[in-house]
Symmetry: C2
Subunit: 351 residues, 2 copies
Amino acid sequence: MISAVRWHGDAVRIIDQTLLPAEYREIDLRTLDEVAEAIRSLRVRGAPAIGIAAALGLVASLRPFLDEEPAAFRARLERHAATLRTTRPTAVNLAWALERVLRVARDHRDTSNRGPWERMRAEATAILEEDQELCRRIGEAGLELIPDRGVVMTHCNAGALATGGIGTALAPIYLAAERRRVVRVVVTETRPLLQGSRLTAWELQRAGIDVTVISDNAAASTMPRLGVDLVLVGADRITARGDVANKIGTYGLAVLARHHGVPFYVAAPYSTFDFSIESGDRIPIEERSAEEIRRGFGTLTAPEAVPVFSPAFDVTPAELVSAIVTDRGVLRPPYTESLRVLAAGRAASRG
Amino acid sequence: MISAVRWHGDAVRIIDQTLLPAEYREIDLRTLDEVAEAIRSLRVRGAPAIGIAAALGLVASLRPFLDEEPAAFRARLERHAATLRTTRPTAVNLAWALERVLRVARDHRDTSNRGPWERMRAEATAILEEDQELCRRIGEAGLELIPDRGVVMTHCNAGALATGGIGTALAPIYLAAERRRVVRVVVTETRPLLQGSRLTAWELQRAGIDVTVISDNAAASTMPRLGVDLVLVGADRITARGDVANKIGTYGLAVLARHHGVPFYVAAPYSTFDFSIESGDRIPIEERSAEEIRRGFGTLTAPEAVPVFSPAFDVTPAELVSAIVTDRGVLRPPYTESLRVLAAGRAASRG
């Protein structure tokens, strides 16, 4: 299995995803500039993978400064973290992972820098390992949804390239393949940035899994023609009632799945739930640059100055979501109720 | 208004659509090779425009040979027509238009070539002018479907660039604009060949009509977010019961329109009906090259050898089609019934 981000000595080794699928190149990040640039330029992407890269990157970037005065070192680590926090302002995991690493340094003030740094390194490693574990639990939970010889349609990339482990939406697929079950995956290109054809097709093919790429336009007729059994996608944010924000095009697939009687599943860590929001209407939707549409492949594919509407995400209402696969199990609608049962069960098992 | 294909002296003047939207260039076709190459390379495209280009092109290609022996000339014109007929084997209009031009030459055997050639030229011109008239009639019929300040979503290119006139799906939009009604058009990119962003956006912008380009993935959330009032598309073939074959992605838009309570209209000349077929299942669906997906615009956007499923068309069942706008009026479902009434009315008005 590939690793989107991991340790290589004291450097952060990532796969440069901007070069895929034409070239597979691993690069090692050591300095603050290298780490910040890699996140900013989407060399590493996917909310969980970005958080991990920032955590490991913060630790790596401090390595050459262990001999500094402790006060200077502490000022430096706050400075490095602040820089990394601004590389992708919208990714929640980024700030969360940096904060976890900073906290262990703040909590343990030593006379030398070595001790706090070692603890930061251990914390960053823990974030990576926990994500691997979350992915595997999502995979285990979702396995029951994939029939033998099943045809799964997915969108964008919610795979190994987006996480520290085997992905979210792709996790049940990897586990099914690991258990020698036959699975066929149909992946939509996912305009504008083509994460489906560039990344998902690449990582599944590399893992020896049967994958077919379709244009986003072909999704509707592909469902009946290739006998799609289920749609399985990731999520960027899920509200308390189960509305799902995910890559643009997800909502359309959910409508098409409903029309064809195909179940539509979402896979994401439990931490993707935002319990402060009830309705998906309240999720702010980022708009992407018009240039991604007008000059997507380096060629001018629309008139120079034509207006473009390019939302990065859409919201699928809970009513269209057949189940949500989390590291804490599979939730079924109504989600307000199944989340309550889950919380009660965990409280009881703790008591 | 632009002309996709027209006479320029005795040459066929076309807009080279492979260069759009980056460059507007008109080219004149005079020889058989030039005409055949232009159709084969999609410099001129859209079923009606291809038929017209072939008809005018056949006539133009014979111009230098008017002094040949009449028998040699007649053999040559059959040979030229045969070559042109194979340039795009699936387009019905191509064979139909060539046959119309050939027939007038066959019916009038003169001792000189000038007479038959003049009649062929008049027949080719008639095909062009009839198409202009058909487009205008579709526009007039469809005008009632477009509310003032309406937002129309369209797919692919069924406009002036695809016909000899003002298009099919775009015809009511051009007429509404001509009558100073405010219309906003939302056009999907239309992967794989991007006729929506490359061609439809270009011709509407040039005509001063308010147009916004979206990725195909954004269609679902755009319907409610931009307040789309109707979807209006062209058709490649319509069965006797009203199933519609059109560019891949059309069926998906019809499902999305139904889900959002948005009417879904098809505009096409009456000649698009294929009364020999009842169900859309019987329409053969051409598959496009995998390279259009893997290397769409010169860049590798999917793994080199990854399997691709790329149907060029899909079929929208009659149940999802709110009305069909033809040059003979607007047909409403059930189409078998409205077609019968139309035929009876025409028979009565003839009697």
